[in-house]
C-alpha cells in the first residue's frame, strides 16, 4: 500500500480549474518530484494535501486515512508536514525556538504544568531539545552552536532555507512536502541541499514530495517525477522518461513552429 494516495483531485477557484482529476501515489521511502511550468498547480497541490484548501472532489489518503476536511494542524499530527516556497519562518524567534515550536503539538502537558515546570514537562522539553538538535545536525555545524540562539532574521538566506526544512522535519512527520527547497540558492548550496535531501530519505527515513524548478536537482535525486500543467497530470515516471516526453517538452517550451496553432498564438 502506498503511503500517500491522491485520487481524482479537483479544485477550482471561481471559474479557474486549478486542479483537474489529478491522481498519483507516493510509496514509503520514495522521493517524488512534482514539476511543471509556472502556474501548473504544484503549490495548489501542496495546499490541498496539507489542508490549506479543501478539494472540490477527490480523495487524499495518507496511511489509509483520508486527509480531506482536516485542518492543517491536524494533518501535521497525522504525519504530513511542509515547507513554504517563500519562507514563512518565525523571524523574531531564535533558530532553536523555530525548531522547538513544531514539536508543540506532541506536548502532553497542560499549560499549568508548563508554567510550573513539572518534572513531566521538563522531561518533554528536554526531549524536544534533543530532537531539535538531531534535526539541525542534518545541516552540519551551520545552524548549531551560537546560531541556535540567533533570531532567524539575522541568518543568511541559505541558512533560512535550511532552518525551514529543519522546522518541517521537527514536526515528527513521516512525509515531507518541500516547496522549492533550493530556491534562491547558489550552485554550491544547491549541491549541498541535494545531498541533504537524499540523506533525509536514507538516514532520516523520510518520504519526500518535492516541488522544484532546478532540473539538475530533480534529475539527481528523484525516484519518480510527476509533471503538472494547467492543473492536469501530463506525465509520470522516471526522470529520463519524463523529460523526453513530447508533452512535457511542449508544456515547457511550446510546440514546434510547424505544429503550432494556425493563429500563431504563443503558448503561455
Amino acid at each position: 500500500m502506498a503511503m500517500l494516495e491522491v485520487s481524482n483531485l479537483n479544485k477550482s477557484f471561481g471559474g479557474i480549474q486549478a486542479m483537474t482529476d489529478v491522481g498519483f501515489s507516493v510509496e514509503e521511502g520514495e522521493i517524488l518530484s512534482v514539476i511543471g511550468p509556472n502556474g501548473a498547480g504544484k503549490t495548489t497541490l501542496f495546499n490541498l494535501i496539507t489542508g490549506v484548501y479543501r478539494p472540490d472532489s477527490g480523495d487524499i489518503r495518507f496511511e489509509d486515512r483520508s486527509l480531506v476536511g482536516f485542518k492543517p494542524n491536524q494533518i501535521v499530527d497525522m504525519g504530513v508536514a511542509r515547507t513554504f516556497q517563500n519562507l514563512r519562518l518565525f523571524t523574531h524567534l531564535s533558530v532553536l525556538d523555530n525548531v522547538l515550536l513544531p514539536q508543540h503539538h506532541k506536548l502532553r502537558s497542560t499549560w499549568m504544568s508548563a508554567v510550573f515546570r513539572t518534572p513531566g514537562y521538563r522531561r518533554q522539553e528536554r526531549e524536544m531539545r534533543e530532537f531539535a538538535m538531531e534535526k539541525l545536525a542534518f545541516f552540519g555545524p551551520r545552524l548549531m552552536s551560537y546560531r541556535l540562539h540567533q533570531p532567524v532574521m539575522m541568518l543568511s538566506y541559505a541558512n533560512r532555507r535550511r532552518s525551514e526544512i529543519a522546522r518541517a522535519m521537527a514536526t515528527g512527520a513521516k512525509l515531507l512536502l518541500l516547496d522549492e527547497p533550493s530556491a534562491g540558492m547558489n550552485p554550491k548550496e544547491t549541491t549541498e541541499i541535494t545531498g541533504i535531501i537524499r540523506r533525509m530519505r536514507d538516514e532520516g527515513g523520510y518520504t519526500i514530495l518535492l516541488v522544484e524548478h532546478k532540473m539538475n536537482l530533480v534529475g539527481e535525486i528523484s525516484d519518480r517525477v510527476l509533471v503538472l500543467d494547467y492543473g492536469q497530470k501530463i506525465a509520470e515516471g522516471s526522470y529520463q522518461d519524463v523529460v523526453n516526453d513530447p508533452k512535457v517538452v511542449e508544456a515547457y517550451l511550446g510546440k514546434k513552429a510547424e505544429d503550432a496553432d494556425s493563429d500563431g498564438e504563443l503558448p503561455a
Partner: protein, 474 residues
C-alpha cells in the same frame, strides 16, 4: 546545553524579590505611621497603582504582545473582576448603608452574596473576623479573576476567528457591552446600576507589599508561560499564523487560552483596582483605562514584560506626579517651562545621534530647538506687556504623555526595550548568540577555506615559527 549558571540566577532572583518585599513593607510602614513623612503616602499609593496597572498591562501583553492580537476590551474584564471582588468583600457596615440608601437598587438577597456568609455556612467563623480579611480578599480576587476568565472565554470563542482590525473592533465592542450592561436594570441588583457602591476595603489595594505581591505572581506566570512550549506556540501565531498552523499549532485553542489567561489577570487587576479606589463605580472602568494600558505597552515595548512594566511606570508616574503641570502659572513661567523642555529636547536629539553614531552630530534640528528655547526664554525675560496674564495648564498631563509617546515612537518605534527582556544573563553580558573564536574560525572554514587558511598562516607567523602540529584539512 547547560551553560547557564542556573543556581546563580535563582539565588539572585530570590534575593532581589526579598529586597523588594522589604522595601515595600518599609514603605507601607512609613505610609501607615501616625506622622508619615511628607509625600510618602502619595508615593506609596502611586507605587500601588503602578503595581495594579502592571498586573493589567502584563496580562494585556499576553494577548497584544505574545499572541499578536490587538485587544481593546481589557477594561471590560477588569470591570467584571472589580465588581465581583467588590461585592464579595463588602463589609457588613457598608452593606447596611447601601440597604438604607434610598436610591439603592441592591436587595437583601444580592447583598447576601459575600465570602463571609459562605465561610460562615461552612462553619469557618474564624475566617470572618477583621484580622482575617486578607483571606477573604484573596478568595474574592481569585473568584473575580475566574469570572473574568469565563467572560474571556465567552468573548474569545466567537470573536477570535476574526483577524486584525476586525478583531480589535469586536473586542472593543465587547468591552463596551460589558461596561454598559453593568448599568442595566437586569444586573442592577448586583451592581447597583450606574451608581455602584462604596465601602470596598482599601487595605490591600493601597498596600505596596500586597499589590507588588500580586504583580510578582502575574509576572512569574506570564514569564514562565512565555518561555514555555505554549508561549512559543503563541509567539509563532504572532509571527505567522499560517506557518504556525502548518507546524501543528492549534490556532483557536491557543488564542482562546491566551485570551482567557489574560482575562483572568485582568479580573485580578480589577479587584485590586476597586480596592485601591475604595469603591465600585461604572466610570472607574472607562475605555480610557485600556487606552492608557496600550500607551504603556507601546511606549515600553509590546511583547516584552520588562518593557511593559517600564511603560506602565511612565504612564502611572506622569499621571500621579504630573499635577504641577496642570496648575495656574503666569505666561512668563510657561515660557520658561517651554524653553527648558525644548532645551532638554535638543539635548535628547544630541544624545540620540551620538548613541546611534549618526552624522552630523549637530543636526540642524538641534539648533532649531535651541533657537526656539532661546526665543521663549528671551521673551519671558523681557516680559512685554502683551503676554501678561496667567494660564491654567488644564490637561497638560495628557498632552505631556502624548508628546512623550510621539517622541518614543519617532526615535524608537519598538518601544523602550523593544522585544528584549531583562535577564541575569544580559546583566552579566553572557551572550549565547555570538560566536566564540573557535566557532568563528569554523565559520570561516565553511564559507571560505582559502581565506581561513591564509588567516591561520598569518596567525602562526605572528606567533613566531611554524608549529609542529599538522594543519587541518578543509
Amino acid at each position: 546545553m547547560e551553560d547557564h549558571p542556573r543556581l546563580r540566577n535563582t539565588v539572585l532572583t530570590i534575593a532581589g524579590l526579598v529586597v523588594l518585599a522589604l522595601v515595600m513593607a518599609f514603605i507601607d510602614r512609613l505610609a501607615a505611621a501616625d506622622d508619615p513623612i511628607s509625600g510618602i503616602v502619595k508615593f506609596s499609593s502611586a507605587m500601588a497603582m503602578f503595581a495594579i496597572w502592571g498586573v493589567a498591562t502584563v496580562s494585556l501583553n499576553l494577548v497584544n504582545g505574545t499572541l499578536g492580537i490587538l485587544s481593546l476590551g481589557h477594561h471590560g474584564f477588569m470591570l467584571i473582576g472589580g465588581y465581583t471582588t467588590g461585592l464579595l468583600i463588602l463589609s457588613d457596615q457598608a452593606r447596611g448603608r447601601i440597604l438604607d440608601s434610598a436610591r439603592s437598587q441592591m436587595t437583601d438577597a444580592t447583598l447576601g452574596i459575600s465570602i463571609s456568609n459562605w465561610l460562615e455556612a461552612f462553619g469557618l467563623t474564624g475566617l470572618t473576623t477583621d484580622d482575617t480579611l486578607w483571606v477573604r480578599f484573596l478568595i474574592a480576587v481569585f473568584i473575580g479573576g475566574l469570572v473574568a476568565a469565563v467572560a474571556g472565554l465567552l468573548v474569545g470563542i466567537p470573536s477570535l476567528r476574526l483577524r486584525g482590525d476586525y478583531l480589535a473592533i469586536v473586542t472593543f465592542g465587547f468591552g463596551e457591552i460589558i461596561r454598559l450592561s453593568a448599568s442595566t436594570r437586569i444586573v442592577a441588583p448586583l451592581t447597583n446600576g450606574a451608581l455602584g457602591f462604596p465601602g470596598v476595603p482599601q487595605a490591600f489595594g493601597n498596600s505596596t507589599l500586597w499589590t507588588f505581591g500580586f504583580l510578582a505572581i502575574t509576572v512569574f506566570v506570564m514569564a514562565k508561560l512565555k518561555y514555555s512550549s505554549y508561549g512559543r506556540a503563541m509567539e509563532g501565531i504572532r509571527e505567522d499564523e499560517i506557518a504556525a498552523e502548518a507546524m501543528g499549532v492549534n490556532l483557536a485553542y491557543h488564542k482562546v487560552l491566551g485570551f482567557a489567561i489574560s482575562a483572568f489577570f485582568a479580573g485580578v487587576a480589577g479587584g485590586l483596582w476597586v480596592s485601591w479606589l475604595g469603591g465600585v463605580r461604572l466610570d472607574f472602568f472607562l475605555f480610557q483605562l485600556t487606552f492608557f494600558f496600550l500607551v504603556a505597552l507601546s511606549a515600553g515595548g509590546t511583547g516584552s514584560i520588562t518593557g511593559v512594566l517600564l511603560g506602565t511606570a511612565l504612564v502611572v508616574f506622569v499621571r500621579q506626579y504630573g499635577d504641577p503641570l496642570e496648575e495656574q502659572y503666569a505666561i512668563a513661567t510657561w515660557l520658561v517651562i517651554a524653553a527648558v523642555t525644548l532645551a532638554i529636547g535638543a539635548l535628547g536629539v544630541l544624545v540620540f545621534r551620538y548613541l546611534q553614531r549618526l552624522r552630523p552630530r549637530l543636526h540642524p534640528s538641534i539648533f532649531v530647538l535651541l533657537g526656539a528655547a532661546g526665543v521663549a526664554l528671551v521673551i519671558s525675560v523681557i516680559d512685554p506687556g502683551f503676554i501678561e496674564g496667567s494660564f491654567r495648564g488644564f490637561g497638560m498631563r495628557a498632552i505631556f504623555l502624548s508628546v512623550l509617546l510621539i517622541v518614543i515612537m519617532v526615535f524608537r518605534p519598538e518601544g523602550i526595550t523593544g522585544r528584549a527582556e531583562f535577564s541575569w544573563a544580559a546583566v552579566f553580558r553572557e551572550r549565547r548568540d555570538q560566536p566564540t573564536d573557535e566557532e568563528r574560525a569554523q565559520d570561516a572554514w565553511l564559507t571560505n577555506p582559502e581565506l581561513a587558511k591564509r588567516l591561520e598562516e598569518a596567525e602562526r607567523a605572528a606567533r613566531g615559527g611554524p608549529d609542529d602540529d599538522e594543519s587541518e584539512e578543509g
